[in-house]
Symmetry: C2
């Protein structure tokens, strides 16, 4: 993707900069923190996603002439501030959780250190990317864990905005999905793409058999035939007759899946198509996938539920000023104090405490006003540091961006899942799998 990201921004970021430039506070060095106050829906853990996309978008966060002209014509900020915006590029440092990391309430997912003006401008972009992508990844990870190793493909592009679909495919892949139907996600992020035919293809033809013959002619017998346009039993019979017993797979997109799948498996076996796989795709979510754990299903395709965060389409992350330097150059912790939205001020560092079996037991958040550095880890159980430096002077660490960063995030998530306690994988509502402790 190309183009500036500068106007993916709430107007008040710019008006704050405008006012702060006027009284000089805009240049105070500041520390903003992104975190989630809770996990939605009684989930046990969340999965961080969006970080790699965010780093690329921050790097491209510049105001071009057309954008500046629009801001001028609409009198969004004073002319002097337009000059400042024209020169804007982010020069700060960013630390945070690696993409693919598990997180819990209060985990300091991202820390942005820069002047107030430089850092506050990124608020909307930071939250848009992390909230949406983490929402998808957090839902997707639950689906992956209950799929018990069976492959899952993301097929939800049509159920979300055409551009968020690309981000959703990426987030689901990081969370362990195996492929996507979305071609742009394949091109931009290197995610394997898949897809064969819809009901329209069958209806286009004079008969189901003609449709299957056309598909096999184009893609060979190893293709996946959609067998439920008219009558599933007849569809399966026709599919094997047309493609032969080496037919790759049949797809079922309707009906009471656990019942239908058993019948289709028996029919395929009776027809000699013992290696033909069964993939199902009808409004699946983590609960219906879990309910098919004993069914002879080979793979899943998931649409609406994964791209909409399975009931929780925004992860609820916030971006707060937690510290700033005073006129004497000293760091001062700051926090909002009003009802029900209390924040913990100050710079944070974090580590996950693992017990002797390498099982996570506690999310430790170290609070301090000083500059960054290694937290003072306690002895005993192993502590795994959670924060890495993501940007140095406005430059992203390339290991976290692009196709390689996406692959690394997916691999990191797989490792992290190994250390979560078994309670983390319960679908039922409950407490976070490990407590967050401020030290």
């Amino acid at each position: 993707m190309t183009g500036s990201a500068a106007l993916f921004t709430d107007r008040y970021e710019l008006t704050m900069v405008d006012a702060a430039l006027l009284d000089g506070t805009a240049h105070r060095e500041s520390l903003f923190e992104g975190f989630a106050r809770s996990l939605p829906g009684g989930r046990r853990y969340g999965v961080v996603a969006g970080t790699g996309r965010l780093l690329e978008l921050i790097e491209r966060f510049r105001f071009d002439d057309a954008e500046l002209e629009w801001l001028r014509a609409n009198e969004v900020v004073r002319p002097a501030t337009l000059d400042w915006l024209a020169d804007y590029r982010f020069h700060g440092d960013v630390w945070g959780y690696r993409e693919g990391e598990a997180y819990f309430p209060g985990s300091p997912l991202i820390t942005v250190q820069a002047t107030f003006a430089e850092a506050v401008m990124l608020e909307t972009l930071v939250l848009s990317t992390l909230n949406f992508d983490s929402s998808v990844a957090s839902a997707a990870a639950r689906m992956v864990s209950v799929a018990l190793g069976r492959p899952i493909a993301e097929m939800g592009s049509r159920r979300t905005n055409e551009r968020s679909a690309v981000a959703a495919a990426r987030a689901a892949y990081i969370a362990g999905f195996d492929a996507t139907s979305n071609l742009e996600a394949g091109r931009t992020w290197g995610i394997p793409t898949m897809g064969t035919a819809a009901h329209a293809f069958t209806l286009l033809h004079d008969s189901e058999e003609a449709a299957f013959r056309a598909q096999v002619a184009a893609f060979g017998p190893k293709t996946t035939l959609l067998v439920d346009t008219y009558d599933i039993e007849r569809g399966v019979e026709t599919a094997v007759r047309v493609a032969g017993p080496e037919l790759g797979a049949v797809r079922i997109d309707s009906g009471d899946l656990p019942t239908v799948v058993v019948a289709v498996r028996e029919q395929l076996d009776a027809l000699g198509a013992v290696n033909t796989k069964i993939t199902v795709t009808s409004d699946l979510d983590e609960y219906t996938i879990a309910a098919m754990s004993g069914s002879p299903v080979d793979s899943y395709g998931v649409g609406t539920s994964v791209v909409t965060g399975s009931g929780h389409p925004a992860a609820g992350m916030v971006y707060k000023l937690v510290a700033r330097r005073d006129d004497a150059g000293e760091w001062v912790s700051v926090a909002k104090a009003s009802a029900s939205k209390v924040s913990v001020g100050g710079r944070k560092n974090a580590a996950r405490r693992l017990d002797s079996t390498r099982t996570a037991r506690e999310e430790l958040v170290f609070v301090g006003d000083g500059p960054e550095g290694e937290p003072e880890f306690e002895s005993g159980d192993r502590l795994r540091p959670l924060m890495v430096q993501l940007m140095v002077d406005g430059e992203p660490d390339a290991s976290y961006t692009g196709v390689a960063g996406t692959q690394a995030a997916r691999a990191h998530r797989a490792e992290v899942m190994q250390e979560l306690p078994i309670e983390a994988f319960r679908l039922a509502r409950g407490e976070p799998a490990i407590p967050t402790t401020y030290r």
Copy 2:
């Protein structure tokens, strides 16, 4: 926005084209229909949005060299099909509901007539735009109706993908919101933008008073001051002291709003700031807005709930082949027959039956296989035709696109709301406000 939309597409659209080009069925003239089988969450009506954006995206649906090269390298389709894709542009006709129109289950929201290959390729894009934007607009319209004329601003960019945020701002505006915080939505779609300051601005300063002074210095006393960073009562007192009784507004973003708002109104009046308005912005949705109908609130800012469709982030629309010509050139109705997802085949036209008080009573869907044309309206009550031609030979009707189209959609929605029966505006779950009848 610029750039191609061709890869915002599920892989199976291209593989279907590939197979259908091989057996010649790709060129069969076809009719696809977009509709919703139901309204989510027991809502009484939906609001169509996304149409204007969609028309612009269809016009730009071309495969550029980089996209073709990626498809070639990944062997998505056969080389002959790549040549066909290289020449692709949509030449078909599109009819549908005007953007901003109310809709009900089965309403034929969009009808695409073209060759199978040209029309099937648009499936993902049609559904992404209509599902997301209509989800937002349908939720937003409910908020507008319970706000009883008080202005509402859309402030949810941070709770959805950075690009879907722009579409969400537009959809909410069409549904009757008055402004957005999103700057790109202002620039691209001409939507009024708004915003003043966040808690970070107060925390940046050495005191709340210093922050207020900075903001008033930049924007004058008519600005909106955020008074709940520390203590609301003290915040209000400081705000009026700094800005004077001509202070434009105070914003409250936390606490039990109905209680807090009454106290703040009394305090403002006692301080002589009788014209200072109160705006509230704390996790509002249609239910909390309705609960403040008797509170002295002047305006609302809504974030998460509107951009995520207030619990229903995808409108559930589908895009189905409903008719095609056979080899003799005759139109043949087609429909999937399998369990639980039955569709009604054939070309549709639609009208809303209005009674003598101009109140909507019935959604009439006329089913026929022939070419488009005026439905045979029955006598008696007035019938308002619902479908207009949106594209002719691949060219959008300019009255439905761009800034002007967005304004027209907003005005159309306001008119349509006038004709809905009073039951339509109940928040409680129930049946659609009017029945859909197939004729």
